[in-house]
Amino acid sequence: MNEIRSLSRDQRVALVGRPNCGKTALFNALTGSRQKVANYPGVTVERKEGALATPAGRQVKLLDLPGTYSLRARSPDEVVTRDAVLGRLAGETPPDLFVCVGDATNLRLCLRLVLEIKRTGQPMVFALNMFDIARHRGMSIDVARLEAELGVPVVTSVAVRRGGTAALLAKVDEALAAPHTPHAAEGWSEPDAAGVRRLQKEADRILRAAVQHPEAPDTVTARLDKVLLHPVAGLAILLAVLFLMFQAVFTWAAPVMELIKGGFDALGLWVGTLLPEGLLLSFIQNGLIAGVGSVLVFLPQILVLFLFILLLEDFGYMSRAAFLMDKIMGGAGLHGRAFIPLLSSFACAIPGIMSTRVIDSRRDRLATILVAPLMTCSARIPVYTLIIGAFIPDRSVGGVFSLQGLVMFGLYTAGIASALGVSFLLKKFVFQGAPPEPFMLELPDYKRPDARNVLMGLYQRGLIFLKRAGTTILAMMCVIWVLASVPRPPEGATQPAIEYSLAAKIGHAMEPIIAPIGFNWQIGVALIPGMAAREVAVASLGTVYAIENAEEEPAELGSALAGKWSIATALALLAWYVFAPQCASTLVVVRRETGSLGWMWFLFGYMLALAYAAAFVTYQGAVLLGLG
């Protein structure tokens, strides 16, 4: 029975291996663009599956399991891998075959994982990836001996070269041809220290028996590290890389952003010529096109930022950045590994929060998640540029810096400083007494980034962002449009239509609370849709003031605001936006990643309190200085 079933259905193969072993490159090479990215049920661990056909004509579903150092599963990603290897992952059929991927240039720690997986009794093949580089470096690997010592089939592969996976596919065919029944591994238990040590010593013995290291080892990584990990020069280079990255995010992305914005504006106008004036047109123009457009405009910035992150990751620099920053971040109670998630949060807190999974310790991970939304994400940029452009005079300071640029820099600094401050306070008061989680990670050898890998990663990040824009944000825009349009103004209404809407009622109801921080009811109205995403507030202000000023000449939003608000109000709104927890998607992701509604509300509460306090101090201070 089982055999018949296993012939008639797609075969399942799972890739398992350490991080940085070229597993993803191999997955991309094997499946090409036939990939599906989703989440495992119940957890936000990324599930990547692809399809391929073997030379013998088998249809294979290939699963790319999250990278792991061992089966002892210390992070949510590693738990998925362990459970999949043990064949007990909820909602997954146990795979027919495991392909354990190892970096041929760096086998020492791979071999222990191979031995660990072999002990579970699951059918497996060991793929020696990057075999070309190993040979180029003068390593000699006795594959037959390795196979004999390990007791599992061993095959070499070169993911980044055409035809480099032929031998692996042939081996997969061979292994799948043997009669087998996918099953869960029985009786596995976590090894103790002695057990781990035995496995590592066995791996070392096999390594000595089967692998000859060259007389003159490769020195590129060592020479690069002399500079890149230099205590002073290394930090300076890291800062320079970050500086270059932010320059690129703002300058490279600008022309494309203009194009997207222009495209959506044109689309809105075009729809205006097709449909008669009325509710439907308003919904499509203001609700759908303007709403989605205001979010899609950030796609170029997110792609540029991720291009840098993916390149640096593929090159092997990211773990070095964590090494260089560990002590500095440790002073604020953060883990060195928190550096990468916080960096991603400059684009958007959501990928940032999701990448905190590389942090083993729950406490350190939680601290990072709780401060990530304080980093200045790209959604704040439109709010900042609108207000700075309208209220901060365009003049130079000391003949070198522009005052507007300095204010922008100040807002970024305020974000970083508050993130460090909050994490320091968390360590001091919330997580007090917990000893710091150790910082231990491998610094892999540098390698040339693989174009296909980087492009594939970029494509997937972009897709995730687009999906978000197409679902959450689209839905919120519909709600907002309804609030701002219903009920319709009565016959012979003298005031702007929005004055009669639910949105205005809400805005007026908020006035007593927001008056002390200098906000008028229009800002209050804009803050509500701004809950969906910060940048939506700009679009909402545009709508509110456009409808209010319908009688007058249509003016650019910036100059319209300059006439309506005091500088104190503008500065208070800037201060508000440094802290305000105005992003429903972030809150949803925080709930999912912390697995707790409590931490989500904690985040919301502390950020709201900080935002109110900052806006209050800024407004009252500015009024005292005569800027009211």
């Binding site: 002892r72 590592q200 892999p444």
Partner: protein, 105 residues
């Protein structure tokens, strides 16, 4: 923060200290130290001792492996990057103290 002040010594002075008395553990080793692992001890600290030991072993710190201290951070000479039998591992001195070493000749 309590940081051993030995690491603020100029590199030359630290090296001289080492020649006289070799460090007992990797956490106290100076930049450029080369040696062999004598033992990996479970010590109390940020993790349960047994867990720290397992993690160190998983990163390749096993008895007999050759180690070389390649890099150290700017502040308090921490963390350190150690070459362990061909693999480079970054860790803090606090945890490295669990790795007992003897200097290579």
């Amino acid at each position: 923060m309590s940081i051993s002040t030995d690491w603020l010594l100029p590199p030359g002075a630290a090296a001289m200290t080492i020649k006289r008395s070799a460090p007992a553990d990797l956490g106290a080793a100076p930049l450029g130290f080369r040696g062999r692992i004598r033992a990996v001890n479970p010590i109390a600290g940020s993790l349960p001792p047994e867990e720290l030991e397992r993690r160190l072993v998983e990163l390749g710190f096993v008895e007999g492996a050759m180690v070389e201290l390649l890099h150290q951070g700017l502040f308090g000479a921490d963390p350190i990057a150690v070459r362990v039998d061909g693999v480079t591992i970054a860790l803090r001195r606090r945890e490295a103290a669990a790795v007992l070493v003897e200097a290579a000749d």
